[in-house]
């Protein structure tokens, strides 16, 4: 007991001494961080005002190049803030500071109000539209600049006043790395001007300065090593940023610096025992704050769209979802299952131009998309009409060409099976027939679909540092995909789908101008209006013929392509994009979101891009079908796993 007392008091002494030293270290770090935030904030405020002023001095007939220098300083200053602002408020970035230069709708207006895009990319578009400034162009540039200045005034207030903690500083650094990898090196930021990798240098400098503030705290050798490794990765990345946009080997850039840096910052956070985002509350986490690579299965929280947590997502629920997925009892005729059109062997597609309709006599409206990694989407279907993964089933069940049933009838059919009742009881902890309802069917299917995740392609494994073979063609293909060919400015890594980095809370759709069949000389536009006939509040011209941007993972298995399945081969698809979509083949496609200039791709370029896309194939462990379906007493006992057709 006495010894215990001694031990206790010595702990107290140590704790007090260490505590006092620590206060100074912590206070000093906070001060340095505050100064850093102030410095980058003031610089972007200053350069934006200067740019707006310079814009005011230009007149019609001047060369646009008079504005380039002040535009360039503004860009660099913004980029230094980027990790902080993209982390703190990605909504502000997409709406006001550096979002894609495309109109959006006011989500809450009772009318369909189009919000004109704002920010640096709009300025970029306006500035490089024509070298000799027209009066319209000047008006546009001035308007953009003024809006930017006011948006920035609020942004500056946010950056300064936000309750920054160590956790937030490190998570912001990781967000910055994700932003660089997924957008910064792909040319996303410069829709009109010549992209450079050097644009990313200021963001890396900020990340470096943030990391350096942790040096005094890293007294142990292990922590110090973690920090110096992270700093070394920043330096390696910084070296790559000096290379040319076309020549840089992005695979090596990611593999040797950006991805290890992304992991390294989390290691540092862990070594310092700083809390992670999942410890501050029970809020929705989309990007896993503890993920150790941008190219493995842990990069996202797969439950973000399902309303589940890792605890509530049980094996019983997944197994039930799998049975339901392959069970034609969900359809009115007992013939068709989800798996009819989403066959695991074809990466959950069916190989048809458009899926067969119930009754076999016709086809449904669109091509069957893959379900792999669909759990990361924020909206579902080609027209983005479903807001929740669990809601998707209701659309399919009640569609006369798909399952031709109603939710009440579907639930009634399932309740006929004692085995199903028992499975639902076990999965949802509810007793009796009540365990089966439409909500639980949706949740079970959602639970199963959320397990259809793929991050083990050769590309993933190579990028996260494993020793797998990547051919020279695939390597070149990735560089083209994420560079000159601009594929990644819509098919964002790491999902290579339209899930927008670095927050991943938005699913994009695009207007491409896809023809009714493969043709360039005498093509007919596809009449499907897509998103404009989706949800009521989006019935706007800006979404006419707009379709959800699918993933290019597993495209090797998911032919034919596009919402109408008109394109049979990847060569045809690449050719369509290379020409600049519908506008590129000479149509007037209002609001086309695809750049319509010719990409000037050589045949080697095309081969390489396709080789890269084929290296993204991975359906490992995803293709298991159930061996039997739950039994029914009556006529429904004879059912085919996965449906009759």
């Amino acid at each position: 007991m006495q010894r215990l007392g001694v031990a206790l008091s010595s702990i107290v002494v140590i704790a007090v001494v260490v505590g006092a030293l620590a206060r100074d270290i912590h206070r000093e770090r906070k001060d340095v961080q505050r100064q850093l935030i102030e410095k980058v904030t003031r610089e972007v405020e200053r350069t934006s005002i200067r740019f707006a002023n310079v814009c005011r001095t230009t007149s019609v007939g001047d060369s646009a190049s008079l504005l380039y220098a002040s535009y360039d300083s503004l860009r660099r200053a913004y980029k230094a803030c980027e990790p902080l602002i993209e982390y703190l408020d990605p909504g502000t970035v997409t709406a006001h500071l550096n979002g894609a230069p495309l109109p959006k709708l006011d989500p809450k207006s009772t009318f369909i109000d189009i919000l004109e895009p704002e920010g640096l990319q709009v300025i970029d578009d306006a500035l490089f539209e024509s070298d000799i400034l027209t009066s319209e162009q000047i008006d546009r540039i001035r308007d953009c600049a003024d809006r930017f200045v006011t948006a920035l005034r609020m942004t500056g207030a946010m950056l300064r006043q936000a309750p920054w903690t160590d956790r937030m500083m490190l998570e912001a650094s990781r967000t910055g790395v994700m932003r660089i990898m997924a957008m910064g090196i792909t040319g996303f930021d410069r829709p009109a001007s010549e992209p450079t990798l050097d644009d990313n240098a200021p963001a890396l400098i900020t990340i470096r300065e943030i990391l350096l503030t942790y040096k005094p705290w890293c007294s142990s050798s292990q922590c110090g090593l973690t920090l110096s490794e992270a700093l070394a990765h920043v330096d390696v990345a910084q070296g790559y940023m000096k290379q040319s946009f076309e020549q840089c080997d992005r695979m090596e850039l990611i593999r040797t610096s950006l991805d290890p840096l992304y992991a390294g910052i989390a290691h540092l956070q862990k070594a310092l025992q700083i809390e992670f985002a999942d410890e501050v509350g029970n809020g929705l986490i989309v990007v896993n704050p503890r993920g150790t690579s941008m190219f493995n299965d842990e990069v996202f929280n797969p439950y973000a769209t399902t309303g589940m947590t890792s605890a509530s997502h049980t094996p019983e629920m997944v197994e039930l979802g799998r049975l339901l997925f392959f069970d034609p009892v969900l359809s009115s005729t007992n013939e068709r299952a989800c798996a009819s059109c989403h066959q695991p062997e074809l990466a959950f597609t069916d190989g048809r131009v458009k899926s067969l309709a119930l009754g076999r006599n016709s086809s449904i409206q669109r091509n069957a998309p893959t379900l792999i990694n669909s759990v990361y989407a924020r909206r579902f279907f080609y027209d983005l009409r479903a807001l929740r993964l669990n809601d998707v089933v209701a659309h399919v069940v009640t569609h006369e060409d798909e399952f031709g049933s109603s939710l009440i009838d579907m639930v009634g059919r399932l309740r006929d099976s004692k085995e199903y009742v028992a499975l639902f009881e076990r999965a949802f902890g509810v007793r009796g027939l009540e365990a089966i309802d439409a909500t639980h069917v949706g949740l079970a299917l959602g639970a199963y679909i959320s397990t259809l995740r793929s991050f083990n392609s050769r590309v993933d494994r190579y990028l996260r540092g494993e020793s797998v073979q990547i051919s020279a063609s695939e390597r070149r293909g990735m560089n083209l995909f994420m560079g000159k060919a601009a594929c990644a400015s819509c098919h964002f890594p790491p999902t290579f789908a339209g899930y927008v980095p670095p927050a991943f809370v938005e699913s994009e759709s695009e207007i491409l101008g896809v023809p009714i069949r493969v043709d360039t000389a005498d093509a007919t536009p596809d009449p499907d209006v897509g998103r404009a006939a989706g949800i009521r509040r989006e019935q706007s011209a800006i979404y006419r013929h707009s379709f959800k941007t699918p993933t290019v993972r597993n495209v090797e298995l998911t032919a034919p392509y596009f919402h109408n399945g008109a394109y049979q081969t990847l060569e045809q698809v690449v050719d369509f994009y290379a020409r600049g979509g519908g506008k590129g083949i000479g149509w007037d496609v209002p609001y086309q979101t695809l750049p319509f200039d010719n990409l000037d791709l050589t045949s080697q370029d095309r081969t390489d891009i396709i080789a890269f896309m084929r290296a993204l194939t991975d359906t490992t462990n995803l293709t298991r079908r159930p061996t039997r379906l739950p039994s029914f007493p009556k006529q429904r006992s004879a059912r085919t796993v996965g449906g009759d057709y």
Binding site: L4, A7, V12, I14, A15, V18, G19, L21, A22, L88, D89, G91, T92, A95, H96, K108, S109, T110, F111, E116, D146, R147, V149, A151, R153, M154, G156, A157, R160, Q161, P163, T165, R167, M168, C218, S220, A271, L272, Q273, I274, E275, F276, V280, G281, G283, I285, V286, P289, A304, T305, T306, G307, T309, H313, M317, L387, R388, N390, F428, R536
Partner: protein, 614 residues
């Protein structure tokens, strides 16, 4: 010896990370010397009870039973004057849907609430005069006054209930919504199903869309619509307030920015709102005071004005607000409070409204001036919205509580952000409990930018309901959080019953839900009881806050821990594993944590034991 080993290990753990305030793990035994007290967090006095779930509960229609519509919005309330039950509740469905049984468009669902001996609420069985039997009944619009659409707000008073149709439509094609909305777009004959209440209008043929966007009275007891108030004008109404005089009604429009009207109606005879005068509000230039401009409102002769009142209003220089939502009369101070939800970039709308002849309210100019921009500049911003106050003594409209958190004036930032914040207020009501008056404000976020969703590393939107003690300064720091709705949802509706101890609230269109709760995946009407205890504990919280040593106290009001001053704190579970860290906080949310023993540790190394009960 074994214990010593443990201590040694914990010493190393401390020094290795150079004084981490909150190491990921603490050895439970090391906490003993620091224990200063034991705090028990008892179950919350607030009882949440799910009452009505859209899409799951069935309604009785004239064509049989079917699943209720979703998208719950306003909750109308008519007390049961016999005292046999709490009364009749009517929930709006803010949607457009083709529905064979209920009728196309939006709609409303009526039910009667009773209170059991144990204090829980129950939906009572009823048999209506038209023979319908059950618990939930759709309000019959299709056989009475014609369908309604997007039933959002409304008003209740004197046992009567009105519903508002916010979604302003200007064509039959629009309301048809490619066959998913109103399938019947043939002309509508006023009074063809039942007398309209405006004899001069009966028999008049109008376009189908023109029969939408009126305030519609329904009978809460029979679940049938009574009439559309064609004499108040056709607007994108969001809410209204029936005044205690039985004559005056205020109406609030959620229309376009710079074109949303504030309307007053004064009946000739109390209780008969079909005859009287209609006025639109016009603020005096450069002032907060204003006048009420009379609108010609004889339905038969002034039909062209009433069916498109905005065309008339702009010629009179009527004041256009930036999307009014709900309003509520505070019987304590006699003023009307109105939410103005705002619009991110209203400049272009203001520009066209001003060009058309509308005027803008003074607080809108004030805001532009503060931002250093012209009111109609494309750079003008209105992210957070506000609560306005209409003083009936001088007919002035002023900003009462500006939303936040961020402002270019650093001194005006709520000191307790992100704990306290308010954006895009929508629902509004007053609660009179224990002799005190509280404003209830419900958020409906227009977006997530500029801190409307406080970033702590998480994404998604959720909306919150706040309480403001009206004796306190109207600041964001003085807001008290009543509820958070599930992710992606909107908190709407507010009905106070049972002497203020119970409120009914809706959670609309949730995006996500916890797995065990089917009610959380659909639009839900839920009851919160125990408001009286809540309110007394808010007062206790505020009084109990001291400047001295930090202590943790159980909050008897909700599932959270309170600290007596702003602290950094970490919560550890019984095994010593860190489960939660908060910074600069006065509360720690434990609603999602399992019951059991936990430890709270502060930056000075002191630890307190906390027991969570439920």
């Amino acid at each position: 010896m074994k214990m010593l080993g443990l201590f040694a290990a914990s010493c190393i753990a401390v020094s290795a990370v150079s004084a981490q305030d909150f190491p990921v793990r603490i050895e439970p035994v090391t906490m003993i010397p620091y224990l200063q007290g034991r705090v028990v967090v008892p179950p919350s006095p607030l009882k949440y009870q799910n009452i009505f779930v859209g899409g799951v509960d069935s309604v009785e229609t004239d064509m049989g039973r079917t699943a209720a519509k979703q998208w719950h919005d306003y909750i109308g309330y008519a007390a049961d004057e016999t005292g046999a039950s709490l009364g009749y509740l009517i929930v709006n469905h803010e949607m457009i849907e083709a529905n064979d049984k209920i009728g196309d468009g939006g709609g409303m669902t009526m039910f009667k609430l009773g209170k059991k001996a144990d204090g829980t609420l129950e939906v009572l069985d009823q048999t209506l005069p038209d023979g319908r039997k059950g618990k939930f009944f759709n309000v019959d619009f299709k056989n009475t006054v014609g369908e309604t659409g997007m039933n959002c707000g409304g008003m209740s008073g004197f046992g009567r209930v009105w519903t508002a149709e916010e979604w302003y439509q200007s064509s039959n094609k629009g309301i048809n919504a490619e066959g998913k909305g109103f399938r019947d777009t043939s002309d509508f004959v006023i009074g063809s199903k039942q007398p309209s209440g405006f004899p001069g209008l009966d028999g008049k043929t109008i376009k189908r869309f023109q029969n939408l966007n009126w305030m519609v009275e329904i009978d809460p007891k029979t679940a049938k619509a009574v009439r559309k108030y064609y004499n108040w004008g056709r607007q994108g109404f969001e809410g209204g307030q029936v005044m205690p005089d039985g004559k005056t009604i205020f109406l609030f429009e959620d229309g376009a920015a710079g074109r949303s009207i504030l309307t007053k109606f004064v009946a000739d005879v109390a209780g008969d709102y079909t005859k009287g005068k209609t006025y639109f509000y016009k603020q005096d230039a450069g002032k907060y005071t204003g006048t009420w401009v009379e609108v010609p409102n004889n339905p038969a002769t002034d039909w062209d004005i009433l069916v498109a009142p905005h065309n008339w209003a702009k010629t009179k220089g009527i004041t256009g607000f930036t999307r009014l939502e709900w309003g509520a009369f505070n019987k304590t101070d006699g003023k009307i409070y109105i939410t103005e939800t705002g619009q991110d970039r209203p400049g272009a709308n203001y520009k066209s409204a001003l060009a058309d002849g509308w005027t803008l309210p003074q607080h809108t100019y004030d805001r532009a001036k503060e931002q250093g921009v012209a009111v109609d500049s494309s750079a003008h911003m209105d992210y957070y919205g506000r609560v306005l106050v209409l003083d009936l003594n001088d007919n002035s409209v002023r900003s009462f509580l500006e939303g936040g958190p961020y402002t270019t004036d650093a001194a005006a930032v709520p000191s307790r952000y992100p704990e306290k914040h308010l954006s895009n207020p929508d629902g509004l009501g007053f609660l009179y409990v224990n002799g005190k008056t509280f404003m209830v404000i419900e958020e409906d976020l227009n977006g997530t930018s500029f801190g409307r969703m406080p970033n702590t590393g998480m994404r998604g939107t959720n909306c919150e309901a706040w309480l403001l003690d009206m004796t306190k300064a109207p600041t964001i720091d003085n807001l008290y959080r009543l509820a958070i709705s599930p992710y992606g949802s909107e908190i709407t509706g507010f009905a106070s019953l049972d002497d203020g101890n119970t409120v009914l609230i809706n959670s609309q269109h949730p995006d996500n839900a916890t797995i065990s709760d089917a009610a959380a995946k659909n639009s839900l009407t839920f009851a919160v009881t125990g408001l009286k205890q809540l309110v007394s504990s808010i007062e206790k919280d505020n009084d109990g806050r001291t400047q001295g040593a930090v202590s943790v106290f159980p909050n008897p009001t909700s599932t959270q821990l309170n600290f007596t001053s702003e602290v950094d704190a970490a919560l550890y579970d019984a095994t010593g594993a860190r489960v939660r860290v908060v910074r600069n906080a006065t509360t720690l949310d434990i609603a999602d944590l399992a019951t059991g023993v936990y430890y709270v540790r502060f930056t000075d190394g002191t630890t307190q034991q906390v027991v969570i009960q439920r």
